[in-house]
């Protein structure tokens, strides 16, 4: 004989079942929301030291932080995709800068976060844009409830829970938290090092591509290099920042020399540079780190994990960037 019983069958009446479910849902939700409010991990409700909650969903976290916390502590930003996300701007002494870059984002995706900062920051500083083709590709904005209602989204956010669990996990396994300076750096080499094959393997593939391109030249179509919508968005954001009194600095990301060669051969890089240069005025500053002066990074076999700088390379690059920005400050 079978019976309709569950393992822990503490039977209750049907009416009590409905009441219990409703009450428990209410209790759990209010407890969770209350905890998020008390922790104030995005600095939305009270001032405190710069929060550091970039685990799990860095784009949403940075958007929520841009409402109040980032403008409170910083006047300048580094903006770009993953290739600039792992630059620890804590090493850049020349500016009070936060790294707004997020991996997997282009300008369309990061724009709401940047706009929120421009809206809420009352002390215009410097905006440093990292110019790299991924930043103007055809990725579309991913809608998020945070954009419509940041406060409610923060109250219900699982990002702090994720962050505390990740930190606990990293603490017990002896690993350091990945944003040591609380300035928005997301250390891709540390977060994703095990996702990627060794650089030598990557380099081998790059060399093959170079050989193939030399044997049979092939050019990337222009609309694949720069998405018109993304380009327009970048132009609008830069213009808005200028009107708000920010100093605009842009730099061409130091491509490893193999990647640079490929992009030269397929016509991507010259076209990208030509179009990007049109966005900037004489009073803006555009730096190019793809010259022989920076070959100690670009040609290094130990500075990259693929087309991204690894921790060593990113720290070296932060020094170079700091040096360049410091010289600009002296002008």
């Amino acid at each position: 004989m079978t019976s309709d019983l569950t393992i822990f069958s503490l039977r209750i009446s049907l009416r009590f079942y409905v009441v219990t479910v409703m009450c428990l849902i209410g209790l759990l939700c209010s407890g969770f929301v209350g905890l998020n409010y008390a922790l104030n991990d995005f600095g939305l409700w009270r001032d405190h030291a710069m929060p550091n909650q970039l685990y799990g969903d860095p784009l949403t976290a940075k958007y929520l932080l841009s409402q109040r916390a980032i403008p409170l502590h910083f006047d300048s930003l580094l903006i770009g995709p993953s290739v600039s996300a792992n630059v620890d701007v804590g090493n850049i002494a020349s500016l009070e800068m936060y790294n707004l870059s997020v991996q997997g984002t282009n300008i369309l995706r990061i724009r709401p976060t940047l706009e929120a900062f421009l809206e809420n920051n009352k002390r215009p500083g410097t905006l440093v844009f990292c110019l790299y083709p991924y930043f103007t590709n055809n990725l579309k904005l991913v809608p998020s409830r945070a954009y419509d209602d940041p406060e409610r989204s923060a109250l219900f956010s699982t990002i702090p829970l994720h962050a505390y669990l990740s930190r606990a996990g990293r603490y017990f396994s002896g690993e350091a938290a990945y944003d040591k300076s609380s300035r928005g750096m997301i250390d891709i080499s540390e977060v994703r090092k095990d996702h990627r094959p060794p650089y030598a393997e990557f380099a081998k593939k790059q060399d093959k591509k170079i050989a193939a391109l030399i044997a049979q030249p092939a050019f990337t179509p222009h609309d694949k290099i720069i998405d018109p919508e993304a380009y327009k968005a970048l132009a609008e954001v830069i213009e808005r920042a200028r009107l708000k009194g920010y100093r605009i600095v842009a730099y061409y990301y130091p491509l490893n020399y193999r990647d640079f060669t490929i992009r030269q051969l397929n016509g991507e890089w010259p076209y990208f540079q030509q179009e990007m240069n049109k966005l900037f005025l004489d009073r803006d500053v555009v730096l190019d780190f793809n010259t022989s002066k920076y070959d100690d990074i670009r040609k290094s076999e130990t500075a990259y994990m693929d087309n991204h700088l690894n921790r060593l390379g990113a720290d070296r690059f932060a020094e170079v960037l700091d040096d360049a920005l410091a010289r600009l400050n002296q002008r």
Partner: protein, 512 residues
């Protein structure tokens, strides 16, 4: 308005339910139905108010057509003409919004006409569902099976909000008698309410926790194949393909569970729409378990009128192929859908050809071997279905082809590395356990027993394990216990948290 949106859960549903309950409690039965109709129209209009006129117009036209058919009951030629005309109008409307651009583009390609003008008409939400429901109603009226002379009741039958957007496709006889049952003044029994809440919670969990997270590797795979195919390895392709199999199942069956749960809250049992499709031991069996109300519609209104299995094998196989091609086209205006439907048809024909021989062979085997063989067939069917889902999800047949190639090229050098995304892998494993270990939601909530498809019932793996490990005869089904109240609350809580912290993703079947 989505079932998994805060506006629905915290405003629309409580208000509609409380007013409906109050009206019923105080004996205002007609008012309660009117209120439900108004709420259903508001629910539809929330998406795009101008298109509410289309829904109301379609309901009005079909009501008049049904009245006319009813009045012509003994005049066969006139009935046939009216039926063809009214079904034709419905199909024209569906064709205009859903297939016109597809048709024009293909005509343009065929005759090599550059810049052929397209309509770019916005697809009205749920048009495929309410069109099919109304066609079924007209056919049943013409056959003399049913008649309805109350416009408000007919309008509620079509627009009843739990099933309006993405089914289950309901027949008149399945819904209206339940709506009109007013012997009791209570909105729904406590049992219905408890089951409704439980089922809604299960559906919400399937959608928000499982399906929406599974969308991540699926999107990564399809984006990767289009933009950076070199970075996609064979394992990535398998993970993405399997993830989509689970995603679409949890997305759509989650919606169906929510719809059935909502129906129960209003005292109505909606028909079962899914019954463990990935437990199917063949493609034909899969279609008896997947989107059951659509399969039943296609069987009753296309396959059987085409001849079914009464006119020999050749006609039967042709009918299967035509039915499945149309079924594919119903899902969307694109060659990927047509091919997807067609290939399913081919596999169903193949399973018919092999089925009898396999069955004879199987019956002679010992029980353990039979079990092993059945498990192998389930696994094989799942792989075939997964491979075909690739086509369903791909934007073009070429992308599907690229993914198929990637699945079997044995390249392990990609850097997309979905296998290292722990969250995704955990959700895939949980999904597999839900699919193959636990009873499905209909069995769990005892609704399968009430269904016409109770022949699909099986013993879930969890009950088999419990029988052998714990020596218990009890089944893993819902009872009103503290334990069930706790886990349902937790499931609701987790879904609500995730729903609020991210944006509610639309249901895949909303596009159809």
């Amino acid at each position: 308005m989505l079932f998994n949106s805060p506006s629905f859960l915290f405003f629309f549903l409580p208000i509609v339910w409380l007013v409906f309950a109050a009206l019923k409690k105080y004996g205002k039965f007609q008012w309660s139905l009117g209120w439900l109709l108004a709420a259903s129209l508001f629910f539809y209009g929330w998406w795009n108010p101008p298109y509410l006129a289309l829904l109301v117009g379609s309901i009005g036209f079909n009501f008049l057509a049904a009245r006319r058919l009813d009045s012509l009951r003994n005049r066969e030629r006139s009935t046939r003409f009216t039926l063809f005309f009214s079904v034709g109008v419905n199909l024209f409307l569906l064709g205009y919004f859903k297939y016109a651009d597809f048709f024009l583009q293909n005509v343009g390609k065929l005759f090599q006409v550059q810049d052929i003008p397209v309509l770019n008409a916005m697809l009205p939400l749920a048009i495929s569902f309410f069109t099919f429901q109304q066609i079924a109603f007209l056919v049943d009226v013409a056959r003399g099976k049913i008649a309805e002379d109350r416009f408000s009741v007919y309008a509620l039958f079509i627009s009843f909000f739990p099933q309006l957007i993405a089914g289950p496709i309901v027949h008149y006889k399945e819904l209206v008698p339940q709506l009109m049952r007013h012997t009791t003044h209570r909105v729904a029994s406590n049992r219905f309410l408890s089951l409704g809440i439980t089922l809604f919670g299960i559906g919400l969990f399937k959608k928000v926790i499982l399906a929406d997270i599974l969308a991540i590797p699926v999107d990564s795979l399809h984006r990767g194949i289009q933009n950076t195919p070199d970075l996609v390895s064979s394992i990535d392709a398998w993970i993405g393909a399997v993830a989509f199999s689970f995603q679409i199942y949890f997305d759509f069956s989650g919606y169906s569970d929510m719809a059935i749960g909502l129906g129960l809250m209003f005292g109505v049992i909606l028909p079962m729409n899914f019954f463990s499709p990935y437990m199917a031991s063949g493609i034909a069996d899969f279609w008896r378990r997947w989107h059951i109300t659509l399969s039943t519609f296609l069987r009753d209104y296309i396959y059987i009128p085409l001849g079914g299995n009464r006119k020999g094998r050749a006609i039967q196989f042709a009918a299967i192929l035509v039915t499945m091609l149309l079924g594919g086209l119903w899902h969307g205006a694109g060659w990927t859908f047509v091919l997807w439907g067609g290939l399913h048809g081919v596999f169903i024909v193949a399973s018919h050809l092999l089925g009898q021989k396999a069955s004879d062979f199987q019956s002679e085997l010992p029980m353990l071997m039979r079990g092993f063989l059945r498990a192998s067939r389930i696994g094989f069917t799942f792989i075939i279905v997964t491979l075909l889902w690739v086509l369903f999800r791909a934007e073009t047949p070429q992308i599907a082809y690229d993914i198929w190639c990637k699945l079997f090229d044995g390249n392990h050098g990609g850097t997309l590395n979905l296998v290292r995304d722990h969250k995704v892998m955990v959700v895939i494993i949980v999904s597999a356990l839900v699919v193959w270990l636990l009873p499905n939601s209909m069995m769990f909530t005892h609704l399968a027993k009430r269904s016409a498809h109770h022949d699909l019932l099986y013993v879930p793996m969890i009950d088999i394990f419990r029988k052998f490990i714990f020596r218990t005869q009890t089944r893993f089904v819902w009872v009103s216990s503290v334990w069930n109240a706790v886990w349902v609350s937790c499931v609701f809580f987790m879904s609500l948290i995730l729903m609020y912290s991210t944006l509610s993703q639309e249901f895949i079947y909303f596009d159809f």
